[in-house]
Each structure stands twice: as structure tokens, then as C-alpha cells.
């Protein structure tokens, strides 16, 4: 992502492209990485509902994994995940290990 110089910013700081923040990949902030364990997933979608960064991928009403370009590794999804029979479907692991 390239920041515009002040001469190129629109007058009144008007943004003309909706959702342009997508160009800013916040995944580099992450110290811990969520890992999805599909066999423990009951598809409750709490992870999707509670993720502050819209980094849980859902397709046709089903959780399909994470968007690591943006996931900041907060761990909310892992904490809220009920999993199956006490086995979490999301675990947090140290990044880079």
C-alpha cells in the first residue's frame, strides 16, 4: 500500500473508494495465529460473529478458515469457540513456530 502525498489527497479528505482499507494488511500485527481444527467444528459461527477484523471466512453459511492477511491474532475466536465435546475447534499458536 502506498500513501498519497498531501498534494494528491482529495479536497476535504473525501474517500471515493469504498472499503479501500482492504489495501492495508493488518496480518503482520499478529503474534499468535489461530488454527482451525475442522473435525471439532460444529459450525456455530460464533468465531465469525465475534471477530473484530472480519478475518473469519464463511462460505454458504459455513466457516471455512481464516484470512491471515488481516487476522490480528487477538484470540477472541478461540476463546469463544465451543468446539465439540470440550475440544476446541480453534487453537492459538505462537507465530513463526
Amino acid at each position: 500500500m502506498k500513501l498519497k502525498g498531501w498534494k494528491n489527497v482529495n479536497p476535504g479528505a473525501v474517500c471515493t473508494e469504498a472499503g479501500s482499507a482492504l489495501q492495508f494488511k493488518t496480518g503482520s500485527w499478529r503474534a499468535y495465529r489461530p488454527r482451525w481444527i475442522e473435525e471439532n467444528c460444529i459450525q456455530c459461527l460464533f468465531c465469525w460473529a465475534y471477530c473484530p477484523d472480519m478475518a473469519v471466512n464463511v462460505k454458504d453459511g459455513k466457516m471455512t478458515g481464516f484470512n491471515y492477511d488481516y487476522c490480528k491474532g487477538c484470540g477472541i475466536c478461540a476463546l469463544e469457540c465451543p468446539g465439540k465435546k470440550g475440544n476446541k475447534a480453534i487453537v492459538m499458536e505462537e507465530e513463526g513456530k
Binding site: M1, L3, K4, V9, N10, A13, V14, C15, E17, A18, G19, S20, A21, L22, Q23, F24, K25, T26, W29, R30, Q43, C44, L45, F46, W48, A49, Y50, C51, P52, D53, M54, A55, V58, D60, G61, N67, D69, Y70, K72, G73, C74, G75, I76, A78, L79, E80, M92
Partner: protein
């Protein structure tokens, strides 16, 4: 309503706040905004008071919003949106717009309880057709955790620091939800992101009501609350279960508690995981903890009485 209110159905909608915003990891505010936007079946036009949400979702000319969104200043989100809503009504009357559009203002507690309070009160009194959503994280978190009138009793902030003089904020927080209800507007409610269905239902209801509406939503902030990055939902749930943050609504003067915990937990359950309340558990401060519990009990008792569910 044709579609049932389930996460599965909601997840088929596009979230109109994108990834790539610069709110802190584990912040409660974007969870709230996402739920509010998902609740609407109408096109939304939003205004934002200065605050964490505003600065972090629109840096330079990169915006995380996929709806028309306007930021003006700290004190005037409600006034700014009043103008937009008035223009809309005028254009509609002239036949230049035929869409049904809803207007939502977002403000933090600083921009709502304190700095933007006058313009909020004015917009409500003038009867603009808008919903004002306060995401209340209980301090000026964006500028470095200074106390606001929403900061809870006893909380440690950088402008009411724990020391030899005081043990955190000496004053109780302002009850803004009640103050807004006293404007006799058609709808006032309190919600929490932990109880997503309650929150979404309240937004849906508010958007169907004509006139001014106000919702106060608890927004955990792990930086200011001195807690973990993963506990925003857990803490907001504890806030509800301890009745620190009761879920209720006041519709045309009728108060209704929308969630009554099966077993009311002790306030300490909500306070203990938060570093901003650490000193309340130190020897010598037993009285403060007792006072705080009494404040919560009193307010909960009042609410139960008002809603006739004692």
C-alpha cells in the same frame, strides 16, 4: 420477517465494515459496528464522532466503510447527521430520492457522554429520524485512557490515577441511557456485543421506529481496561451477568429488561480480570468494592421495578 435471525443467515450478508481497519487487536468497537450494520436491511448513511473508531477506520484516504460515512468533529456527529437527514427529507419531498434510507451516528463515550452531548441532546429534541449508537468503552482510550463521565467508579485512568490521593475515579459514572430516555424519545436501549441476538433485534426494532432513537452499547477495550486481547466478549458477557451493564429497552416510556441473568453474579467477577480495578482488591479498599456493588444493586433494583419484573 421472512428470514430467521440466525448467524447462518446473517453470514450470507456482506459486512459493510471491511478488514484492514486499524482498531487494536481484540477491540470491541468493530464487533459492535459490524453487528449494527448487519442488522439493517436498509441502506445506511453514517456519521462518526471523533474517537478510536473514527480515526482507525479512516486513515488518510483509506476507509474501512462501504457505506456513505461522514466525520466532522468531536462534538457534532448528531448535528452533522441531523443536517444530512434533513437534506434527505427535503430531496425526498422534491422527488429526487425515492429510496428508504436510515441514518446512524456512531460515537464513543467521549464523543457522546461529554463532548458531543449537547448536539446529541439537540438532535433528539428536534426529533430527527436517526439512531445514535454510543460504543461505550468508559474512557478517552484513543488519546491515552483519560477519564470521561462514562468511566466507572474506582477505575484507574491516566487522569484519575491510583496513588496516595485517590484510588481511581472517585465519582460514579453518568447514567446516559437514563438521561436519553428522559428526552422522551420513542426508543432507548442498552446492549452488549456478547448478546448478539439481543443487540441485532434492538437495532432492527430501532430502525423501524420513526424519530430519534438512542442505543448505548458496551465496548470492551483491552488497552484501557488492562485486560487480555481475547476477552472482549467474555468481559461484556460478565458485565451483563453481574448486572453492571443490564440489557434493557425503553419503548414509548415502557421499560423492559430484555435479559435477566438466571443467577446474578457478584460484581467482582467482572472487575477482577481488569487491571484498571486491581487496587479495589487491595487491603484497605474493601469499602470501595462494597460501594460499587451497592451502586449496581440499586440500579438493577430500580430497573426491575420500572419494568415490573421484580
Amino acid at each position: 420477517m421472512a428470514t430467521p435471525l440466525t448467524l447462518k443467515e446473517l453470514s450470507k450478508k456482506e459486512i459493510l465494515l471491511t478488514s484492514g481497519h486499524r482498531m487494536c487487536s481484540g477491540c470491541g468497537a468493530p464487533i459492535i459496528v459490524k453487528m449494527v450494520l448487519l442488522a439493517s436491511d436498509y441502506p445506511i448513511v453514517a456519521a462518526n464522532a471523533t474517537g478510536c473508531l473514527e480515526v482507525s477506520t479512516c486513515i488518510s484516504d483509506y476507509t474501512a466503510w462501504k457505506i456513505p460515512w461522514i466525520h466532522n468533529a468531536f462534538e457534532n456527529a448528531a448535528a452533522t447527521l441531523s443536517g444530512v437527514e434533513t437534506m434527505y427529507r427535503f430531496l425526498k419531498k422534491q422527488g429526487k430520492i425515492d429510496k428508504d434510507i436510515k441514518f446512524i451516528a456512531f460515537g464513543g463515550d467521549g464523543g457522546t457522554y461529554d463532548i458531543g452531548f449537547q448536539s446529541l441532546s439537540g438532535a433528539m429534541e428536534r426529533g430527527h429520524d436517526m439512531l445514535y449508537v454510543c460504543y461505550d468503552n468508559g474512557a478517552y482510550m484513543n488519546t491515552g485512557i483519560q477519564r470521561s463521565s462514562a468511566t466507572p467508579y474506582g477505575a484507574d485512568t491516566t487522569t484519575c490515577p491510583v496513588g496516595s490521593g485517590i484510588q481511581g475515579k472517585p465519582q460514579p459514572r453518568k447514567n446516559l441511557t437514563k438521561i436519553m430516555a428522559a428526552h422522551d424519545i420513542p426508543y432507548t436501549a442498552q446492549a452488549s456485543p456478547s448478546h448478539w441476538m439481543d443487540l441485532v433485534k434492538k437495532v432492527k426494532k430501532a430502525l423501524e421506529i420513526k424519530g430519534p432513537k438512542f442505543m448505548n452499547i458496551l465496548a470492551p477495550c483491552n488497552r484501557g481496561w488492562r485486560s487480555r486481547t481475547d476477552d472482549a466478549i467474555q468481559l461484556s458477557r460478565l458485565a451483563v451477568e453481574t448486572c453492571y451493564w443490564p440489557l434493557y429497552e425503553i419503548e414509548n416510556g415502557v421499560t423492559k429488561v430484555t435479559f435477566k441473568p438466571k443467577e446474578k453474579k457478584p460484581l467482582a467477577d467482572f472487575l477482577k480480570p481488569q487491571g484498571r480495578f486491581k487496587h479495589l482488591f487491595a487491603p484497605g479498599n474493601e469499602n470501595m468494592l462494597k460501594n460499587f456493588q451497592e451502586m449496581v444493586d440499586k440500579e438493577w433494583g430500580y430497573l426491575l421495578k420500572a419494568s415490573g419484573t421484580e
